[in-house]
Chain length 302, copies 2
């Protein structure tokens, strides 16, 4: 059973089939956000701090850290924000960059065992990222596309993922430290994007024994009421066997949907987390632990 | 591929693997509702009418009709409310009673092809309900418990369901007209209630080829924030292969969760239903079809 063990200096988070679904907060990322990009370039990290704290408070167990701003010194920024975030929260981080120097820069200052986001099956990428993952003994997100691009055929995407797992093995990286991203297509463009993904997750889990993740919000790209799609997609992914996802934990309803999926997948023993988070506080004048007035009145209504 | 064809006088609804998930509205049911019970006994059906219209407006494709009030003449009430509901809505109905005479009374006045709720594998029940289902050529909910009660072992529940399907066959009822309820336990009491159910649904679908349904809200009995559990459970049930459920479509978020699951299961071609239901109306002064002001402003925020 795959156990991807991530850690900060003081906290361990395990991604695994028998673990609560791991929410990787996506908000520390300036892509498409002009102000955030400008601030990062200027060395102003107030928004990084805000997003870090807010996402952990909302329920993210892991934080993705992407500071990719065109024409900025990304390795230098990464070397500054990683310790900054680690000083604010004990959530393990996911060091996210397409620039190998930025990945190494983040890894070199990181305290604990992070996730690296990401390698693909492109030869050049694998041969740069995997040695780094091996050197720092950490875990890596493996995106199932290769030099020919992204296949629409889920069986091809499975084979591509398998190739990364095998190559990782050649570098001394265990399969349980490869978290495969099967790639989620926008369902408005590819009607089978959901069902392809569910089938692929099951194969990755049963045949390769690996953990899985994805950028979940891609699925609803271009559709109205997209949060409602995301909030249904996460429990379905969890039901299909996915064990983590890169999400926005601040979106209304997303965190409860994922925690409910933990309960329903029997990964929240005795519903203890659920009850801790969602038990109604006793109303004034009531005994502790009993349902509040409003609740009882609503129940009685016929 | 199982196709359970239900109808009213003017509308057909198909329950099936490649169909939108069928929501069976549960609100026409006086259980635990004193006023509703009192009104039914007095022949006052205003609440039946209200619940029928409200549930269909909310998105229910089928309405469960249960008028079980202790010491009332249930067959007589059923004979009155079925035509009344059919005069208000074209949604097919699910005639729901534990009293065989009430079932027959509802069936005898029904226009179209209803669902009968329900038989169990108890000998006496099967031998009373199944002949009725055969006589009226309709479909039936099969609850997987027998004379020994409800087994906690999902494999036993599978065998019990199989026995009902076989007995139905002896009465000339096709497997596609048997909609199996695998029985959902409260997850607060049985931690594996969700995962048992998901596995059982897959077996029922793959090995017996039948449609499935359940009283979904049972799962969250006794837990706080139970709607959030239900709203995650429905997409997970749909992902596991369930094709219908008895639900309260008036609960916030439930209908969008089910419709999102249709999109994600590729049972909403080109997302046409989704877009029809959830496209934002154009804001004042905007061109048709474009995103409203508030939406754009939110997107721009960094």
């Amino acid at each position: 059973m795959a156990r991807t063990i991530l850690s900060s200096a003081t906290k361990e988070v395990v991604i695994g089939f028998d673990q609560p679904f791991a929410m990787i907060g996506e908000r520390i990322n300036p892509t498409g956000r002009k102000l955030f990009s400008k601030e990062l370039k200027e060395g102003n990290y107030w928004r990084v701090k805000k997003e870090a704290v807010a996402q952990v408070e909302a329920g993210a167990q892991i934080l993705d850290v992407n500071v990719g701003v065109p024409l900025a010194d990304e390795p230098a920024i990464m070397a500054e924000v990683v310790p900054l975030i680690q000083s604010l929260t004990d959530a393990p981080l996911c060091i996210d960059s397409s620039i190998i120097e930025a990945l190494e820069s983040g890894l070199s200052v990181y305290k604990g065992r992070p996730l690296v986001n990401s390698t693909t099956a492109e030869e050049e990428v694998m041969e740069r990222v995997l040695p780094l993952v091996a050197k720092y003994d950490c875990a890596v997100v493996a995106i199932s596309n290769d030099d020919t691009g992204i296949s629409e055929d889920p069986d091809v995407r499975f084979e591509v993922a398998k190739r990364i797992v095998e190559r990782a093995h050649d570098h001394g990286i265990k399969a349980e430290d490869v978290v495969v991203d099967p790639l989620v297509m926008p369902i408005g463009a590819v009607g089978s994007a959901g069902t392809d993904c569910f089938k692929l997750i099951a194969r990755l889990r049963n045949e390769l024994g690996v953990n899985t993740t994805c950028g979940a919000s891609n699925i609803a790209f271009g559709l109205p009421n997209r949060h409602a799609i995301n909030n249904a997609f996460l429990p379905m992914l969890a039901c299909a066997g996915m064990t983590s996802a890169i999400v926005n934990p601040l979106h209304e309803g997303l965190v409860p949907a994922v925690r409910a999926a933990d309960v329903l997948n029997n990964n929240d023993e005795n519903c203890a987390n659920w009850i801790r988070y969602y038990r109604q506080p006793p109303a004034e004048g009531e005994e502790g632990g009993r349902r509040g007035r409003g609740g009882r009145r609503r129940r009685r209504a016929s």
